[in-house]
């Protein structure tokens, strides 16, 4: 019998402790073949920054907002909401799989506008997700399982670094369409339209709703209209990623314009929303995923399938952040304060853009830095080449991603001059 044989092996090889004997029967780890994974390109920047001892160091990597003192900013509407919530002495019972109802409703209204026909007819479903990443992943998983068209998802070139592995892990095939024009540091409108017009029917196309990450380059309304036409002609399924509503222009309705326009034009879109940046709720993981359907009946079927997808990943979402977001969105006073604070954050970034360009001119830079001001949102695609980025990091302790992207949120009036010096030094 196998069991008897085992005993013999153990007691032969073991010394005093059977445990040692057991360990000796297998020499290698299950994981000896596992490769060391590379550090995350974006989050890895922060790790490297932390290790740097230069007092002038700057972290322009991850897109987390900082105030003008370079400190994380907890919005006062968040603190007020937390106080209100604490006073209610709520229990901690599981949320439904689809999340907190007051949150998902408010989340959809924020994106679509409270009086949107889609919401009135009940022909959409919004589920609470683990911030933007979780939303994109659920969307990807949903498409991999249910999308009747090609499982090719088209990202703008370039796109947020994490889009590719998210959609790949969800089971989709990654493709791209032209988007950023490095020669102008602006939108390659012609290239985008050309590429989109060639995408096979029923493929999926990802559009950044506003404040494109990493380039900060957004289509103008007229350009969005043409994009919508081509997308319609090609019968593509639109997946909007809106991680910066409010952060782009400072105005939440203006930033949602493209999303609302597309819906008006008849696109039944998928939409991912994040409240990490615009409410500063980063670590609370607050997001939403919406699918606009043909009618309420279809929305119910789709909802049931989303739940089936979510349950084996994390069962149901975390309450804390969603409760804060819902309280802010649904309490008029807090909502007003929030809108002001979003406006303030967006304005500070706009100001830093202006100061950076002014600083570069002052240093004598002869390059055209207009794109720094034209670009929108948290990020700036400086146009710096990898070698220049490397120098900026090594010589000036300015940390950013290799693609030349800087998070303007990490720039303050105290260090914008130093940054201008550094950028000038590596580009002159």
């Amino acid at each position: 019998m196998a069991l008897l044989k085992t005993n013999k092996v153990i007691y032969c090889l073991g010394n005093v402790s059977p445990a040692l004997g057991v360990l000796a029967t297998r020499n290698s780890s299950w994981w000896s073949g596992v490769q060391m994974g590379p550090p995350d390109p974006i989050l890895g920047v922060t790790e490297a920054f932390k290790r740097d001892t230069n007092p002038k160091k700057m972290n322009l990597g991850v897109g987390a907002y900082r105030d003008d003192q370079g400190k994380p900013f907890v919005l006062s509407c968040v603190r007020k909401a937390e106080a209100l919530i604490a006073a209610k002495q709520l229990d901690k019972e599981y949320l439904a799989i689809g999340g907190l109802g007051e949150f998902t409703k408010a989340c959809a209204q924020l994106a679509l506008g409270a009086d949107n026909e889609v919401l009135k007819s009940g022909r959409s479903i919004t589920v609470q997700t683990i911030s933007g990443t979780g939303s994109l992943r659920i969307g990807g998983n949903y498409l991999a399982r249910f999308h009747a068209g090609p499982h090719d998802i088209y990202l703008p070139k370039p796109s947020w670094g994490n889009h590719t592995p998210i959609y790949r892990d969800a089971g989709l095939q990654l493709k791209a369409y032209r988007y950023y024009d490095p020669s102008t540091c602006g939108f390659d409108f012609k290239g985008a339209l050309e590429d989109i017009s060639k995408i096979p029917e029923k493929s999926i196309i990802v559009l950044h709703a506003c404040a494109h990450n990493p380039t900060g380059v957004d289509p103008k309304p007229e350009q969005w209209k043409e994009i919508s036409e081509v997308v319609k002609k090609r019968n593509l399924l639109v997946f909007f990623d809106m991680a910066y509503q409010g952060f782009a222009s400072g105005d939440i309705d203006r930033d949602a314009w493209a999303v609302r326009y597309f819906i008006e034009q008849g696109h039944n879109i998928l939409l991912s929303q994040s409240f990490a940046k615009n409410m500063g709720l980063y670590g609370e993981r607050v997001g939403g995923f919406t699918i606009v359907c043909n009618d309420a009946e279809e929305a119910k079927r789709v909802e049931s399938q989303l739940k089936i997808l979510i349950r084996p990943i994390y069962s149901n979402p975390p309450m804390n952040g969603a409760r804060i977001a819902a309280t802010i969105l649904n309490t008029p006073d807090l909502r007003s304060i929030w809108l002001e604070e979003v406006h303030t954050m967006a304005n500070r970034i706009i100001k830093m853009r202006e100061q950076l360009v002014a600083g570069l001119k002052k240093n004598g830079s002869t390059h055209n830095w207009q794109h720094v001001i034209d670009q929108i949102g948290m990020f700036c695609f400086t146009g710096l080449k990898p070698e220049q980025v490397e120098r900026l990091t090594k010589e000036f302790s300015v940390y950013m991603t290799k693609d030349g992207r800087i998070s303007m949120a990490g720039v303050s009036s105290g260090n914008v001059g130093y940054l201008a010096e550094g950028i000038h030094a590596v580009t002159k």
Partner: protein, 410 residues
Amino acid sequence: MSVFSEVPQAAPVAVFKLSQDFANDQFPNKVNLGVGAYRTDEGKPWVLPVVKKVEKIIVHDDRLNHEYLPILGLPEFRSSASKIALGDDSPAIQQDRVGAVQCLGGTGALKMGAEFLRRFYNGNNNTKTPVYVSAPTWENHNAVFSNAGFDDVRPYKYWNPEKRGLDLAGFLGDLENCPEHSIFVLHACAHNPTGTDPTQEQWKQIAEVMMVRKLFAFFDSAYQGFASGNLEKDAWAVRYFVSLGFEMFCAQSFSKNFGLYNERVGNLTIVARDADSLKKVLSQMEKIVRTTWSNPPSQGARIVAVTLNSAELFAEWKDNVKTMADRVLLMRAQLKAKLQALGTPGTWDHITDQIGMFSFTGLNTKQVEYMVKEKHIYLMASGRINMCGLTSKNIDYVAESIHQAVTQVQ
């Protein structure tokens, strides 16, 4: 023409549908013995006093904000949570071969472990490696592993309905005969749904076969502290396996023992052979986390970390856990006593032999239907009841109803 016109309506998740039906029921004496969440003797959810205390501490700490946690989670949480499972003085921890990933509840921890195993265990992307889950098991186990890409999720013999206990011979038989390197999902304690755990001697036999057959131990620990009221006792099986030198995973949930259900606090503890392997495993875990949720939610993990890292709060927590476990033990004792007093046919020892939140009553589907429809007592079709749903006020009604179900419905 909608791209989604062919999307079929999915069946609702049974346990949540049960709660919904209960909520909609107007019957004044209705009882919810479905979902596994603790209830006080007043039938109310219970936010642990220590949790309330810690939440106040957190809200008044100006140094805290809502910034992103690292991908793998809050370091103080991960290490203290692993210590809870493996013991403060665990040699494996001292040898730097224990790591952890903060996850969204126990489900999230199972998910991360499953995704990792599918990619890297028994070859690369070997979706054919069999994953064994107990018969019966928590219903979500199947979906977690199959959605992670495993093609072959199978049951291992566990519950013997005739003797209402562990089918050890069947279990060992499956361990002996399964393909080498199969993955086994083991319930660390308070087996869900049966409440039936192997004894220490039985665990020793299980471990021995698993070692010889080179099987992977993936523990699911959702009820540590809840089973016996004692953290160390409830972690015995996990620690025993570690002491034998297993490389293994342990998915921990703090939903029940901290009452933090909706904060989604979980931890995947990883025991590797050596520090080097561990580092590689964690680096790959980061990539899996990054495409699923990027980084985990901070609130719940912070509450647990603050509690576990303070001697005073830790003691208070253990006390709160014992309060919950003791109430469950009391309800078990009283339910059995009442059924025996009523002369309900059958033996009812299993109610007090079984451990943790749940009891597998042995009621058949017809009897369960009777309980739900006629008596407005909600329990799972399997006959599983949540002992926490019993209170001093409803226990007589439940006992009488069980009696009626057993005597009138076959």
